[in-house]
Amino acid sequence: MPTKNHFPTLLASTIHDIKNSLSVVLQLTRIFSSKYKNDPDLTQLEFETHRINNSLMQLLVMYKIDHNKFQADIDEHPVCDILADVRAQHILLLEGRHISLSIQCKADLLFCDNTLVCNALSTLLNNAQRYSRSSIFLSAYPDGDFTCLAIEDDGEGYPAAMLENDPNDLNKLDWISGNTGLGLHFVSTIAALHENKGRQGYIKIDNDSRLGGARFRLFLP
């Protein structure tokens, strides 16, 4: 077997292994949480574990895309199911941090890679949780030839420097800003993997949140 084939296997099995550990860590955290009635330190621990998991998953997907070992698995999915999936993934965490998540689904069916879009929204929800005060609004609605998935929060909003650049333009990405930048890069890559009749998915960020904070929108054709 040529050596070049070893790394992906190694990466995949290492990630599998780390995820096993993360699962155990999360489970232990939950056991302690129920014992110590939502200790904020434990909530923080759970949040960080989720972030590690999210970053790992991003890393793996990005690696595969770079090495042409990835392609979107497009099928038709009810948008409400996608939103419910994302909610399920974060519900325990949100409760622990006393952040309310409201969902409004005005879109019906969507052609997309279900797993990828859930991952993308999950990454964003993770970010939103860090910056929001008490509530997050997750919504979906048709927008011309696209379906828009939006996450709005009641935090401080994106810093002005971030809003100056097109988040779809990877060259202008501010890597130093850390996880937020990385997450946006990931989500815009995922958006671009969705294509239909010459139109490509894209993302938009601004501070026009109905809750007064940041607004992120993912447009899929």
Partner: protein, 541 residues
């Protein structure tokens, strides 16, 4: 339709005790009480044999022994998985199915870890709902009642908006199963108008292939691969079509590409091995067969045939020591297996011939011949062909012919097998030994067919039936004869109104499936037979 989880029976397979406990406690929070736990594939298999489950939830890695994909492969092959059962694999990666294709098994879902009870509940419900939705269709298919399956599918299509696409996909597959290419094409085009989806485009390629528009099919498959180079199923079809038109070099090339992308599909590796061997690319064949043996370790597809193939390839490649080593491994792995021993002896004989030891070669062959005569069950046709081939190699022409003749007669309408025989004849320079027999047998079959049809046209139905039934006794594997019998039985069913005929024809249909007659040749007959089904056996709508 809502799904209630509380009464569901779940089999949880996980080797890590902590994880097992934590998933169990999640299931309890979902009010699921019937949970059976297993910590490896062996115990899981025992549980599955004992009772049926609504959900099988299995971690991908299960320690030593089989992983959960291999377990799934085994229970599918052995028909231990009822179609109401959801099979979910828990894995670290989110979409490993992307590198799998038609030759691979697929679970209903991959669930990425870590996950919580809410996520688990959503996934369980979603999959159970789909199984429930498709239940009547799958039930009808397993009863060979395609008319009913299509009826159910059409009905669901008119009612269900949320699962429209997946139902359309099923409807197209059903159309393909009864060789209704027009309907299938119509559906795929309808889907493609909404969205360019690789599987719908693949459907059009399959239709072109079936309709004999080979060039068009190749073009479609190639275009799909340009856009979605990880769509493994497409490689399988493309290599199959090249194989079909005799371009075995191209078939090998496509398989090689597919195997580079997805090296763990054992059946695809095996196909690559045999194709490369056929093309005399011995290095490629060696690599592929080595992989097959490695992947076969815990697989239901582990087979002495692959060890023999590797040994043979080594021998042809002047590596007689390696060949004998592989034969040792074969004998170690398949003790007390006469079929395996015959394979070993045959390759051994070739190795001795290669080493210019004719006496030992003869010994091995004689042992193989003795053994083949002493066992009661009939040997697979490929092995019999090997046996006859080795006889020819030893200049035992009459013995070789004795084995070969019934093979030819019995499998005359199995195109790829007859092609293999002709390929062997060319290799061994047999100068038309088998050609004459093939020609003669083909002619006999045509004569028989003509006589039968003539009798039928004259209204001598019973005589025609007797003629074919006699012939089937002489050639029990012949597809054409069996299809003729089914057609006559169908006619009788229409005209005589005798319930027993219905049972008879069902038995023959099952026989036809066992003989490997392609589904599309049976589908239309099945539909007609279904229409004549006795009233009390019909399902309520």
């Amino acid at each position: 339709m809502t799904i209630n989880l509380t009464d569901k029976k779940i089999l949880l397979i996980e080797d890590n005790p902590f994880m097992r406990r934590s998933i169990c406690s999640m299931l309890y929070t979902l009010d699921i009480e019937h949970v059976v736990e297993a910590n490896n594939a062996g115990k899981a298999l025992a549980a599955i044999r004992k009772r049926s489950f609504d959900v099988i939830l299995a971690d991908y890695n299960l320690g030593d022994g089989k992983n959960s994909l291999q377990l799934l492969e085994e229970i599918r092959t052995q028909n231990l998985l009822p179609f109401k059962t959801v099979f979910i694999i828990i894995s670290g990666e989110q979409t490993p199915q992307m590198v799998l294709g038609a030759m691979d098994v697929k679970p209903d879902e991959y669930l990425a870890k870590p996950f919580n009870a809410h996520q688990l509940s959503i996934r369980l419900k979603r999959n159970l709902l789909l199984k429930q939705l498709f239940y009547p269709i799958n039930q009808a298919i397993s009863d060979n009642n395609f008319a009913q399956a299509i009826h159910h599918c059409d009905q669901l299509l008119s009612q269900n908006k949320q699962h429209h696409l997946i139902l359309l996909r099923k409807r197209a597959e059903l159309a393909l199963a009864i060789d209704d290419l027009k309907k299938a094409e119509e559906i795929y085009l309808q889907i493609l108008q909404r969205r360019e989806l690789p599987w719908a485009r693949l459907g059009l390629g399959i239709i072109a292939f079936r309709a004999g528009r080979t060039e068009q099919a190749i073009d479609i498959f190639n275009k799909i691969l340009q856009k979605t180079p990880l769509f493994m199923e497409c490689y399988d079809w493309l290599s199959q079509i090249y194989q079909h038109i005799g371009q075995t070099e191209k078939a090998e090339h496509i398989l090689l590409k597919a195997v580079e992308l997805s090296p763990n599909a054992i059946l695809r590796q095996k196909k690559l091995g045999t194709t490369a061997y056929h093309n005399q690319h011995l290095e490629h064949a060696e690599n592929a067969f080595k992989q097959v043996i490695k992947l076969g370790k815990n697989s239901i597809h582990k087979n002495s045939e692959d060890f023999a193939a590797l040994a043979k390839t080594h021998n042809d490649n002047n590596k007689t020591d390696e060949a004998l080593n592989v034969l040792n491994a074969l004998r170690n792995e398949f003790r007390h297996d006469s079929e395996a021993e015959i394979r070993a002896l045959l390759v051994e004989s070739e190795v001795h011939l290669h080493r210019k030891a004719p006496k030992q070669a003869d010994d091995s062959l004689n042992k193989a011949l003795d053994l083949s005569q002493s066992i009661e069950k009939s040997l697979p046709k490929e092995l019999l062909l090997e046996l006859s081939k080795t006889c020819f190699l030893h200049k035992k022409e009459s013995l070789g012919m004795e084995i070969l003749s019934p093979l030819i007669k019995n499998h005359i309408d199995d195109e790829s097998f007859i092609a293999e025989i002709q390929h062997m004849q060319k290799q061994l320079d047999l100068k038309g030994f088998s050609d004459n027999l093939i020609k003669q047998t083909k002619k006999e079959l045509i004569d028989l067919n003509n006589r039968g049809v003539a009798l039928f046209d004259q209204g001598k139905i019973e005589e025609a039936l007797n003629l074919f039934e006699d012939a089937l006794e002489r050639m029990p594997h012949n597809h054409t004869i069996l299809l003729n019998i089914i057609k006559i039985q169908l006619f009788k069913l229409k005209t005589e109104n005798n319930q027993q005929n219905y049972q008879k024809i069902q038995t023959q249909l099952r026989l036809a499936q066992e003989l490997g007659i392609p589904q599309q040749k049976l589908g239309q007959l099945q539909i007609e037979i279904n229409r004549l089904q006795p009233k009390h056996e019909k399902y309520a709508d």
